[in-house]
Assembly symmetry: C2
């Protein structure tokens, strides 16, 4: 297995200036899984597995969507109760979601169990989830290359010690700019990122900046990339998960220490893949991503940022 | 003459979380002029001239600073009264200045007169100033390569028709992201930029995004660059003027239509030059910029964004 992903599988209700959607398949593991699976398929990789929980209301169509994408869902538990639900809206320049409701539902008592045959993936990716659950998955896996961790402001607010502990155990942390500023208590993003990376004990820190691109702190120096400039922003939900899932899949293709050029290459792909998620509600764009259209946009992005 | 710059020469009082300064030399023409002069000197160019007005309180030290930088100040009028004054402050991530006071003083009755020998520069740069005054300078000059225009939100608020008229007369417009959104009435920056460029009747549109970099719309396609990521942000005043002044000087070195690669090269230099202005109060950093230190940061920036 190339990538094992632990995270949420959810039904999202989202509105933005471009429209609205009710109870659409979402969640951090779903977006990350579908994007990792897309890249895994492109290079005939070793597969992508999900660990998570859904309720008994999870639809057959959604099981099929995950399987059709090539995802190994043997680690997707079914629990008695409704699937995790999130609702939110985007306004103005859609930089940040306003959360209306979060219902943990089956996540409330979830204890992740990594299937025996998935315990040595190349990459373990802990997508956004309570840091204690992320720690449990780190305990259960021995990835041959690296462990990647994402999180969100909620856990900085209510589980900071757990989050700091788990951040110190991984090779690569992915957070957004607001979270980095919160963690460091510093409005200067570059200074804040250096502080957070030191607290992690080194390693690689990726700062997602939404429409402003990405900043990466690698032991061999920083990398800065703009976002893919697009006039079509429909729903940013899942963009960060898409970004990180792509990163996980690209890094599963290499060996040894993660080189700076390798990371740059992976960030290019992550940026372009996330730009598709942005352009429609839900996971449709990423689940049905056409490799040719993808390649075209990748070349266009290289042209936009290139010499 | 390579570049003729019309704009404000001012005494600024600025405070930021990093400190404060009172009545320091500033103004759009000053920052743009000093940065253009730095690049002009680096390549032994044809010189940079300023058109503007100062009061009879303008100090000998400041005249000397401008002359020492190699600027032609024969177009800098002295009027009876105090020099233009601006005061403002920066807070939080210092993305935007809060203006406390603006005293036009000698600018109130200023009518720009371009010296006879400065009427055919390679590039005319209309730095931020009332659009009617910018128009007057465009009437008086016949640049051999191009005219560049900068502006600010104030003129969108109080002189929109004048601004639109002057924007349609130039080859290249430089505005910041907030101004582009205001002009187009659209929160999506990429869409807004395309709208504004169409209203200009084509040409090149540069969208300054402060700490988020720059987006350029060129007839042969977009260019996106991140900002130089720096942990030292002391005073953003004049960064946009430094950026545009550099652009003007770099473009004065070429001939014919402005190519996309040429523009990209100029934007790299503009980004790096502006990063020096950011790192101290007032014009000191840009007036005393060391070419070796500059070259070093340029190489570092190329590494940060490069392959």
């Amino acid at each position: 297995m190339d990538v094992l992903i632990i995270g949420s599988v959810a039904y999202d209700s989202v509105s933005s200036p471009e429209g609205a959607v009710e109870n659409a398949l979402g969640g951090s593991a779903t977006y990350a899984g579908l994007s990792a699976a897309f890249h895994d398929k492109m290079r005939s990789g070793g597969g992508v597995g999900l660990v998570g929980v859904v309720g008994n209301d999870f639809t057959d169509a959604d099981y099929k969507l995950l399987s059709d994408a090539g995802l190994d869902i043997s680690g997707l538990e079914v629990a008695d109760g409704p699937t995790f639900r999130w609702s939110g809206s985007y306004h103005g320049n859609m930089g940040e979601a306003e959360t209306h409701e979060t219902h943990l539902n089956v996540f409330e008592h979830f204890q992740p169990k990594v299937p025996e045959e998935s315990r040595s993936p190349k990459v373990t990716f802990c997508a956004n989830l309570h840091p204690a659950l992320q720690a449990s998955v780190i305990d259960q896996t021995e990835p041959t290359r690296c462990t990647i961790l994402d999180s969100m402001n909620l856990w900085i607010d209510i589980a900071l010690d757990d989050l700091r502990a788990v951040m110190a155990r991984v090779d690569l942390v992915v957070l957004n700019d607001g979270e980095i500023r919160m963690l460091a208590g510093d409005e200067n993003l570059v200074r804040a990122a250096h502080t957070v990376r030191e607290e992690m004990g080194g390693g690689i820190l990726i700062v997602k900046r939404g429409e402003h691109g990405v900043l990466a702190l690698h032991p061999e120096g920083m990398i800065a990339l703009p976002a893919y400039p697009t006039a079509t922003v429909v729903d940013p939900t899942g963009c960060g998960d898409t970004f990180a899932g792509t990163l996980a899949s690209l890094l599963a293709a290499g060996e040894g220490d993660i080189g700076r050029n390798e990371l740059k290459h992976a960030l290019l792909h992550a940026t372009v893949t996330a730009s598709f998620t942005l352009m429609s509600f839900g996971v449709g764009a990423i689940a049905n991503l056409d490799p040719e259209q993808y390649q075209e946009r990748l070349e266009s992005f290289k042209h936009i940022i290139g010499g």
